[in-house]
C-alpha cells in the first residue's frame, strides 16, 4: 500500500523541485490518501499510513512556501491549507519521519501570521505551543523574537535579524522582503509624527534604504515634501470635527439620565 507513495515522497523531498511538478505530485498523492481515508486521521485510517500522510502534507506545505516568491497568489493560500490539514495529525500525536518539520512549519505559519498582521491568531497559536520551550526552539524562536521587537518598536533589531543571516532556514527568507517593507512603513508612519523634519542623508539609514535616490522616491510615494536636503511632513488634517459634537453628546447623555431617573423615581 505504502509502496505507491514512496516514489512520490522521494521526489517531493527534493527541495529544488519546480512548483508545477510538485503540485501535480501532491494532488496525486492527496487523492490517494483520500481514497484510503487518510487525509485526516480518523479511527478507520490504517495506522501505517498516518506518518506517510503527515509527511506528504508537511512537504506540501514546505514546497508551497518555497514557491511563494514566484507563485505568491497561489502558494500562500495553499500553505495555509496545508497547515490546517496538518494540525489534526499533530493533535492525534502522529510523528512523521522529518522530526524538524513540525516546528519548522509552525514557525513559518507564525511568521506568515505576523506579516499579515493577524496578531490575535498569532497569539492563539503561540498559546497552543506553550511559550516555555518555544523560545529555545530554532524555528519557533525566530518569529517570537520578531514579534516582540515589532511590538516594542526595536525595528533595527528586526532589520539585523533579517539581514545578518539569523534566518533559521531558507524557507524563512521568503518573508524577509515583506517584513522589510512592513517595518519601513511602520517607521515612516512613526516618523511623520515624531520628527518635525529629517535630513535626507540620515533618513537613508533610518529607513534602511540603499541610496538617497531611493529615499526621495520613497518620500514621494508617501507624499512627503523634499526641500533643501530636508524632508518635511505634511500636516495631517486632524480637523476640529470631533470637537463639535461635544455639546451634542452632553445633551444626549443628560437626556439619557433624565429618562433613567424618571423610571427609578
Amino acid at each position: 500500500m505504502a509502496s505507491q507513495l514512496e516514489p512520490i515522497l522521494n521526489q517531493l523531498r527534493n527541495s529544488s523541485l519546480p512548483y508545477p511538478t510538485a503540485q501535480s505530485l501532491l494532488s496525486k498523492s492527496k487523492i490517494y490518501l483520500l481514497q484510503n481515508h487518510a487525509l485526516t486521521p480518523t479511527s478507520q485510517t490504517p495506522s501505517s499510513l498516518l506518518p506517510l500522510a503527515l509527511e506528504i502534507l508537511e512537504l506540501g506545505a514546505l514546497q508551497s512556501i518555497r514557491a511563494a516568491p514566484t507563485h505568491g497568489d497561489v502558494a500562500i493560500p495553499a500553505f495555509i491549507r496545508y497547515v490546517q490539514q496538518v494540525t489534526p495529525f499533530y493533535d492525534a500525536g502522529v510523528v512523521s519521519n522529518g522530526t524538524e518539520n513540525r516546528s519548522k512549519i509552525t514557525g513559518l505559519y507564525l511568521l506568515l501570521l505576523l506579516t499579515q498582521g493577524r496578531y490575535a491568531e498569532f497569539h492563539s497559536e503561540l498559546e497552543a505551543i506553550g511559550t516555555g520551550q518555544a523560545e529555545k526552539d530554532k524555528f519557533l524562536g525566530y518569529p517570537i523574537r520578531l514579534e516582540r521587537w515589532l511590538m516594542e518598536g526595536s525595528y533595527d533589531q528586526v532589520w539585523k535579524a533579517i539581514r545578518h543571516g539569523e534566518v533559521p532556514s531558507e524557507e524563512f527568507g521568503v518573508f524577509s522582503e515583506i517584513l522589510t517593507s512592513q517595518i519601513r512603513n511602520e517607521i515612516a508612519t512613526s516618523s511623520e509624527k515624531a520628527y518635525p523634519s529629517l535630513p535626507i542623508s540620515s533618513t537613508k539609514s533610518l529607513l534602511f534604504l540603499e541610496s538617497e535616490g531611493d529615499v526621495i522616491n520613497f518620500a514621494h510615494s508617501r507624499g512627503w515634501i523634499v526641500k533643501d536636503g530636508q524632508i518635511y511632513f505634511p500636516e495631517l488634517g486632524e480637523g476640529e470635527e470631533p470637537e463639535q459634537d461635544v455639546s451634542l453628546v452632553v445633551i444626549e447623555n443628560t437626556l439619557g439620565y433624565a429618562r433613567q431617573l424618571e423610571t427609578i423615581v
Partner: protein, 581 residues
Amino acid sequence: MPGKTPDKEPVENGGYRGGKDIEMKDKDEASSLKHKGKKGDDEKMTVVVPPSKKQSSQPPPNDVDGDVAMDEADQADDGELKVDPVVQTINDIKGNFALLDRAVALFDARFSLRALRSISSIRKRLTPDILAQVIAETYQSGSSRAHIASQLLAAVGKGDVQLRGQSAEMEVDGEPKAPAKNGASKKESKEVLPEADIFLAILVQVYLYDSKKFREGAEFSRFLCDHIHSLNRRTLDSLSAKVYFYYSLFFEQLSPLPHTSQSPLVSIRPTLLAALRTAVLRKDIDIQSSVIVILLRNYLATSHISQADLLVSHTQFPENAANNQVARFLYYLGRIRAIQLRYTEAHEHLTGATRKAPSSACALGFSQTATKLLLVVELLMGDIPERAVFRQPTMEQALLPYFQLVGAVRVGDLDAFENIIAEHGDVFRRDDTYSLILRLRQNVIKTGIRMMSLSYSRISLRDICIRLHLGSEESAEYIVAKAIRDGVIEATLDREHGFMRSKEIGDVYATREPGEAFHERIQACLALHDESVKAMRFPMNQHRLELKNAQEAREREREMVKEIQEGDLDDDDLGGDFEGM
C-alpha cells in the same frame, strides 16, 4: 452534648466551609497545581448559604474519619437519646427525595436546587455503606429501575447488596431499626422518580470524586450521561447539568493530564456538544449554560483557543443563566479575549466575572484566579490597578507576585521586571498568565519613556538608552518614535542632535476626559440599578392582590361619599378613615 451530633443543614455548611477554606489557602502556599485548586473552587461556588452562629459551639465534623469516630462515641453511650450519624445521613438523603417529589409535582426548579445545595453537607458523611443502604431501600428488586440501582451499587463497589423487594419478609419480621425507614418504605411503594435516580447518581459521583477513584468515576459518568440523554424531563435539567459537570471533572483527572492534545478531555467533547445541541433545542438553560462553560474550560485546558473562540461565536449563552455559571463564562471569555489581544473586551468580561463571583469565602479561589487575570489585563491596557485590590486580606498572599509586577510596570523599571519574571516565573506559569505577562515588556518600556518625558524637557537618546537598558541608541530612537505615534507621550525627536524634546502637557480638566469618566460611572450605576431590579423575585399574582385592595378602597370611598352626601358622617370620622387607609 446534644450539640455534638451533626445538626441539620446550615451548621454543617458552616463547618464544611471552614474546612475547605483552610485547605485552599494551603493550596496557594504550597505550590500545588493551579488547576486542582480551581476545580475545587468551581464546585464550591454552588454553596452560598450564610454561616450559622451555632458553628462555634461545636467542632465541625471534618471528614469521614471524624464521622466514624463520632459513631463509636455514640455507641459507647447508647443510653442517651441520640440519632446515629449514619441514620441521620440516610434521612438527609431521603429528605431530598421529598424535595424532588415536590419539584416534579409543582414544576418548580427551586426545590431541586435546594436538594442540590444539600449535597455539600451530605458530602462529608458519604460512605459506600450509606449509599448502598439508601439505594437498597429505595429500589424494589422487581421494578423497571432495578438495572439502574445495580449500576449505582456496582459503582460504589457494593454490587452484592440486595435490593429491597428480596428481603421484604425479613423487614417485616425485624421491624425497622430506624424510625425513618418505616415512613420511607411506605412512601416509596410507588415508582421511584427519575429525578431521585439522578440525585443518587450525583451522590455516587461525588463520593467517587472525593475518594479519588477517577477512573471508576469516569466510567460511571459515561454510563450516566448516556442515560440522561435518553430522558426528556424539564425537572431534571438542573440535576443533569451537575452530572455533566462531574463528568468532565473526572476526565480532567485522568492521565495524561491536560496541556497535551492527547488528553482524554478531547474524547468527551462529542458527548458534551451533543448535550449542548439537545439542550438548546429544548431551551434548557441549566444544561446549556453549564455545558458551554465546561466546553470552554475543556478547550482552554488543551490550549485550543481558536476552537473556544468559535464555540463562543456560534452559541448564545443563555441570558438568565445561574449567576455562578455567568461568572465562569465571563472568566473564560475574558481569557480568550486577552489571548487575542482584545484587551478592552477582556477587561469588561473579567470585571464582570470578579463582580459576579460569590463574595463569600467558598469561592475564594475563583475570585483570586479571575482577579489575577484581570490585573494582568489592566496592566496590558496601560492602566495601573488600584492598590486596594492587593490589600484585601483574602487576596494579599496570592496576589503578592502580581503586586511586585505592578510595581515594576508602574515605575517602568525593566530590570526589576525581568527579575520578577525570573523569580516568579513558575507562579505565573501555574496561573496561566505567563505568556500574557511576557507581553508586558513593551508596556514597561513605554512607561519608562513616559516617566522620562514627564521629568525632562529635553533628554538625549543615549541617556534614554542607558536608563531603560535598551540594546542600542537606534533602538531607543525607533522605540521613542513609536511611542510618540501611539500617543504615549507628547514629544518630538531631533535626529541631528539625537535628543527628545517633550511638549508642554495640557490641562486634563480642559479636555473631555473627566466628563467621559463621569458618564461611564453614571452608566455603571444605572446598569447596576436595572440589574438589581431584574434580579428581584416577585411573588406570583401579588399585583392582583394590590388591584383588589385598590378596588376595595375605591368602593369604601364611594360608600363614604354616599354617606357624606346623606349627612351621616362627621368630618372627624372621615379624616380618621383616610388615615387608616
